[in-house]
């Protein structure tokens, strides 16, 4: 579980996150949704400590993350896996070396044991026989799957996904969504997904948090979302004419 208590973050005079409190539950896929520029990525990066928050507390399990020093934070981060928007794979390393990197850095496993673990993770994301390929040889969807494999290599307690479907076609997006959902349940981890893809929300959103202008504007489940009367949320969800027609149908 991750708990945020009244966190705020500014860049210069611009208040990007304003007094946000959320509980992200374990074993569930927690989705953060909102328009571009609403503060989703800043929120995610603040939770993992890439941005220093100005106010409030971030609690991992029972550890007060915000009070830890850099070295103590690194220890917590070993329990975190993160899927970045562009994958953030190491260009100079092939798929196997990318997935093996955290194992080589933080475990005492032998090379064979590490390779077994890499193969297991790659198999889990349906990427067998891609070990020797370099990131430049992979498609967008494959890069995301390698990034997920790397993120789960160390059996993390927490998984963070920043726009996992950006740049992917709808079919591949569903594959990635399902993968995130399955991994969350299978390994009983706390997953935070940052997205503005409504398909993802409806597919995997165990818990949905709507961020609007840097504040938490709404919180609920994927079932609640279609029937909400929250104006800003409705403007966001039903932005396209097709979704507006769908909404009318649902209401009728």
């Amino acid at each position: 579980m991750i708990e945020l208590k009244n966190i705020s973050k500014s860049f210069g005079d611009k208040l990007v996150l304003n007094d946000i409190s959320i509980v992200f539950e374990r074993g569930k896929t927690n989705l953060i949704i909102g328009e571009s520029g609403s503060g989703k990525t800043v929120l995610l990066k603040s939770v993992v400590g890439l941005f220093q928050i100005d106010k409030g507390d971030i609690i991992y399990g029972d550890v007060l993350f915000t009070k830890l020093n850099t070295i103590e934070k690194r220890e917590i981060r070993k329990e975190i896996g993160m899927l970045f928007q562009g994958g953030a794979l190491f260009d100079s390393a092939n798929v196997e070396e990318n997935v093996m990197f955290p194992l080589s850095m933080f475990t005492e496993l032998t090379f064979e044991e590490k390779r077994d673990r890499v193969n297991f993770c790659l198999q889990r994301v349906n990427l067998e026989n891609a070990n020797t390929l370099f990131p430049s040889e992979l498609s967008g969807g494959m890069k995301k799957r390698v990034a997920i494999a790397r993120a789960i290599a160390l059996n993390p307690k927490y998984l963070f996904c920043d726009e996992p479907n950006s740049g992917l076609d709808p079919k591949t997006s569903i594959v990635i969504d399902n993968l995130i959902k399955e991994i969350t349940e299978e390994f009983d981890i706390t997953t935070l997904v940052n997205t503005h893809d409504m398909n993802s929300v409806m597919e995997i959103g165990d818990k949905v948090i709507f961020i609007h202008n840097g504040t938490k504007a709404w919180e609920g489940t994927k079932d609640d979302i279609l029937l909400t009367n929250h104006d800003d949320l409705n403007d966001f969800i039903f932005a396209s004419p097709m979704s507006q027609r769908l909404r009318k149908l649902l209401r009728n």
């Binding site: 975190i80 260009d91 850095m105």
Partner: protein, 246 residues
């Protein structure tokens, strides 16, 4: 204020770079890779430039000392001292600031803008230490070797061109090379090479590590790395010369 800000941030980064490595084996592997990237791959350019510079120094000295009262072997003395004292350490460092410095800055800068550095941080890796320390150490180990290669090739280049153009004979050149030779000049060149290697790699890494934006900013950081490291090299050349030769 800007300079103070950058100096402060540079020293904070260096503090992170020189903190205890998390896993020596991984750093060692990375350092071996950098030895090839930054060192072995620079031998060619250093050798070519040294050869031609040695040749040019010899010819210029010869044409400036066309006087029957000045013995010809002094051309060898002048070529040797120019190469050992200044050219092979400072000039080679300036060339490497362009080649190695821009490469380091753009590599780390691209890693920053494509979130690879963030990925390392999220994994709990000291990204500054892991990415920068092996580069600094590799350059500090290999640059003295490049300097020695430059000294040998430069002196050889002077001899070849001197004999080929007929401005000096082999015997006169060899006499000049040996005449009043002070071995400390080689030590002096090596000390400068080590200091300049640190300057090139650390300033380039600093510029790449704090890039914000995209490809244009990475390009700008690369240019800044070359300009700043060249200026700092010249400044430290002055200080080291005063300290080591006076």
């Amino acid at each position: 204020m800007g300079i103070l800000y950058h100096m402060g941030r540079y020293f904070i980064l260096m503090n992170k770079v020189f903190s205890k490595p998390q896993r020596h084996k991984m750093y060692y592997k990375q350092a071996l890779r950098e030895l090839e990237n930054l060192g072995i791959n620079s031998i060619g350019i250093v050798a070519i430039i040294s050869l031609f510079m040695g040749a040019v120094i010899t010819i210029q000295t010869a044409y400036n000392t066309e006087n029957p009262l000045i013995p010809a072997y002094l051309i060898g003395v002048a070529a040797r001292d120019s190469i050992l004292l200044e050219f092979s350490s400072t000039m080679v460092a300036l060339i490497l600031a362009g080649k190695v410095g821009s490469s380091i800055s753009s590599e780390i800068g691209m890693m920053r803008v494509t979130e690879q550095i963030d990925a390392l941080e999220i994994m709990g890796v000291n990204s500054a230490g892991y990415l920068i320390l092996p580069k600094i150490l590799s350059a500090m180990i290999f640059n003295p070797l490049l300097t020695l290669i430059s000294m040998m090739v430069g002196i050889s280049g002077g001899w070849m061109v001197g004999v080929f153009t007929g401005v000096i004979t082999t015997e006169q050149y060899l006499l000049g090379i040996r005449y009043g030779f002070i071995p400390y000049y080689i030590t002096y060149g090596i000390i400068k090479a080590v200091v300049f290697a640190f300057i090139i790699t650390s300033i380039a890494a600093y510029n790449g590590y704090y890039v914000e934006g995209g490809a244009i900013e990475v390009g700008k950081s690369s240019t800044r790395a070359v300009v700043y490291s060249s200026i700092v090299i010249l400044f430290f050349n002055l200080i080291l010369t005063q300290m080591l030769l006076s």
